[in-house]
């Protein structure tokens, strides 16, 4: 019941939000709806944790892994909603560029992302994954500027084509299931497929073919190099809260889909094949994005490339497998979400106050925007994986797995690229923090909702770095137990 409620609430809410023509009222309604929705999701997570997988009919199921991804989703969504309530003071021009459209589309976007995590059927998972593209495309093009329209078009086309390949992969896997004697309804159910996985091995070529298409398809959504071309544009041109949602929640949803398929395919043909493909994409994304970070000029594009880099790290963790690799990869999805939201919030404030994101034009913000600079520094130190912050733990776990398995090439490459990224971030951030502010910024005051959102994210990064809270650790263990 609670599972259905979590899905119905955002859809109905999105419809209701459109009735509020007054921006203030729309914001308040969105905040209220958001708090209820987050309470419902938390109740769902609690129920999964206490009494195991929750099912509704044949098409919806939430287990430990779903619950773990829902935690990150609910947390980031709460931060984004809080931040947006202040950020939307200056909405753009255009037909859909009013706060009520913004919030309505946000909740639809949330609906599709929750659905991805609770689909029991791989066909439904595909439908909802395509739904995430559709729901967020208008949000990416929200400002209706030349750049936003271009980014929105590119996002729509590249992701739709990419996802079409995932559909093909899903069909091939379905075919392998039907051929292995499963009923048509069961051959798309991931639980049934997981159980029947050893028998799918009869059609080893079909299963492998399926995984290649799935990885290319959903990999487009994750932003793996070389399918990443939509990602920097969409992240840079979207309104800042949406950049945070894309980077911190949407990419994780696609990772979730890949993990589900990886579990089935590993059961059918052994972990060797899917894991080496994941490692390949992971290393490519890490290296290419890591190097491109050095030459970025736009603050939000810098963050976007950093997201690709971190998706590469997650893929490497999944590709290495093993308890530490998996632990690191799952924990990293959450840690990256928090750090990236904080950084995007900071970037959003810079854009508001200086009306530019070109990093060479941004000087001396440590004096003109002290709180925002603090957020950027904390976020920056966290994102490059320095010790007091939580990303260090997940990256260290993945690295230990690599050394433990004797994968020295991957491990050393990983370390080299992380050092390069550290240099890149230090160079870009120091350039912006130091120097004389170019002009007096008029509206450098942060409003409470903005610094609360940034504060919570920063505290979370330090807290999870010092010690992973027991409840969160339990949820993480539940998620890993599902994949055993």
């Amino acid at each position: 019941m609670i599972l259905l409620l979590a899905l119905i609430l955002p859809v109905v809410g999105a419809g209701l939000l459109l009735l509020f023509s007054n921006p203030r009222a729309a914001t308040r309604a969105a905040l209220a709806l958001g708090s209820v929705e987050i309470a419902v999701i938390s109740a769902l997570i609690r129920q999964v944790h206490l009494s195991g997988a929750v099912e509704v009919g044949r098409y919806l199921r939430a287990d430990g892994l779903s619950a773990f991804f829902l935690v990150g989703m609910a947390f980031v969504f709460a931060l984004v909603l809080l931040y947006s309530s202040g950020y939307l003071r200056h909405p753009g021009e255009g037909r859909f560029s009013s706060p009520r459209w913004f919030y309505a589309l946000c909740f639809l976007f949330l609906f599709t992302m929750i659905s991805v995590c609770v689909s029991a059927n791989l066909g439904l998972l595909w439908i909802m994954m395509e739904g995430t593209t559709l729901a967020s495309a208008l949000l990416v093009g929200f400002y209706n500027t030349e750049g936003a329209v271009e980014a929105g078009w590119k996002y729509l086309i590249v992701c739709t084509v990419g996802i079409a390949f995932a559909l093909f992969g899903t069909i091939v896997l379905y075919l392998a299931g039907v051929k292995a004697g499963m009923s048509p309804a069961a051959a798309l159910d991931w639980l049934a497929l997981n159980t029947a996985a050893p028998h799918l091995g009869l059609d080893i070529h079909l299963v492998k073919l399926a995984f290649v298409f799935i990885l290319v398809g959903y990999g487009t959504k994750i932003g793996f190099v070389p399918m990443h071309s939509w990602l920097p544009d969409a992240h840079a041109e979207a309104p800042t809260p949406i950049s945070a949602l894309l980077s911190a929640v949407l990419l994780n949803c696609a990772v979730y889909a890949v993990i589900r398929f990886d579990a089935i395919v590993s059961g059918a043909v052994g972990p060797g094949f899917p894991h080496s493909l994941l490692l390949l994409f992971g290393v490519m994304s890490l290296v290419v994005a890591g190097l491109l970070i050095l030459v970025q000029r736009n603050l939000k594009r810098l963050m976007a490339y950093s997201s690709i880099e971190h998706m590469g790290i997650i893929a490497i963790g999944l590709g290495l497998g093993g308890p530490l690799g998996l632990f690191g990869a799952l924990l990293h999805t959450f840690n990256h979400s928090v750090a990236k939201s904080l950084l995007f919030f900071g970037a959003g404030n810079v854009r508001h106050n200086l009306s530019t994101l070109r990093m060479e034009a941004i000087r001396g913000i440590s004096r003109s925007l002290p709180q925002t600079s603090a957020a950027l520094v904390v976020g920056g130190l966290a994102i490059v994986g320095l010790p007091p912050f939580s990303l260090f733990i997940s990256e260290f776990a993945i690295l230990s797995q690599a050394f433990g398995d004797g994968r020295y090439f991957v491990a050393i490459l990983f370390l080299v690229i992380l050092s390069v990224v550290f240099g890149g971030f230090a160079h870009h951030l120091l350039g912006m923090l130091c120097g004389e502010p170019d002009r007096r910024s008029e509206a450098s005051r942060l409003i409470p909702s903005e610094y609360t959102a940034m504060g919570i994210a920063a505290v979370c990064l330090v807290w999870f770095g010092a010690r992973i809270p027991a409840t969160f650790g339990d949820l993480l263990r539940d998620a890993m137990a599902v994949l055993r």
Binding site: G123, T145, E146, F168, V178, H205
Partner: protein, 220 residues
């Protein structure tokens, strides 16, 4: 057996040829309206294939899917395209980056590659090579149309051809996915096209043209 049985058999044995014909013609089509008609024709061939499968395999669900394909891909989408093209006052030419001769050559090579590629799988899944090759050729041609035609409308059309190929692959190998899922996929396609329509209006508003190859501001 009767007349229906004979017709069914003929459709199943000949639809691949008609599909190859539509993609070769799409390669030479110079006008947007011709391309849209060809897409409509291609979808009609696929509808016939769905209905033939429905009769032969006695699948009630396939009738619904067949009617959906007919209503959406043969009638609704082509009409929407014509309206879109008229409202956007776009030039009729498809603005191809390859000459028609080159395009036909490329598509012919793709058909050949499709045959070569599916050869080992055809026997494994008990499907005639022709049918499987037709599905793969549609996917490849759809992708080719998307990269070689610079009009936003033609990219949408390329995507639809690609999707037709995936649909066909699902149909011939597994007699289609469960009905609920098929309907969901159709819904996604419709919403996707609607959004692309909105964006093509925005592109023409913001840039005064529909040529997506000129969208080059965001790089690096």
């Amino acid at each position: 057996m009767g007349l229906v049985g004979i017709a069914t058999g003929k459709v199943l044995s000949s639809f691949s040829v008609f599909l190859f014909l539509t993609i070769l013609l799409l390669a030479v089509a110079r006008r947007i309206s011709t391309s849209v008609l060809l897409f409509s024709l291609q979808s009609a061939v696929i509808t016939a294939e769905v209905l033939a499968t429905a009769i032969q395999e006695k699948l009630a669900e396939a009738w619904v899917v067949g009617l959906l394909v007919f209503a959406i891909k043969v009638v609704a989408i082509p009409r929407a395209f014509f309206v879109l093209a008229r409202r956007l006052k776009t030039v009729r030419d498809v603005k191809a980056s390859t000459t028609p001769t080159q395009s036909v050559f490329i598509v012919a090579v793709m058909i050949y590659l499709s045959y070569a590629g599916v050869h080992s799988y055809g026997q494994a899944v008990h499907v005639p090579d022709d049918a499987l090759a037709a599905a793969v050729a549609l996917i490849l041609t759809g992708a080719f149309l998307m990269v070689s035609r610079t009009k936003a409308i033609m990219q949408m059309l390329g995507l639809l051809v690609l999707e037709n190929g995936i649909f066909l692959a699902a149909l011939i190998t597994t007699f289609g996915m469960p009905l609920v899922i098929e309907i969901g996929i159709f819904f996604d396609i419709l919403m996707g096209l609607l959004l692309m329509g909105i964006f093509s209006f925005r592109i023409s508003d913001t840039f005064d043209h529909l040529d997506v190859s000129k969208l080059r501001r965001l790089r690096g």
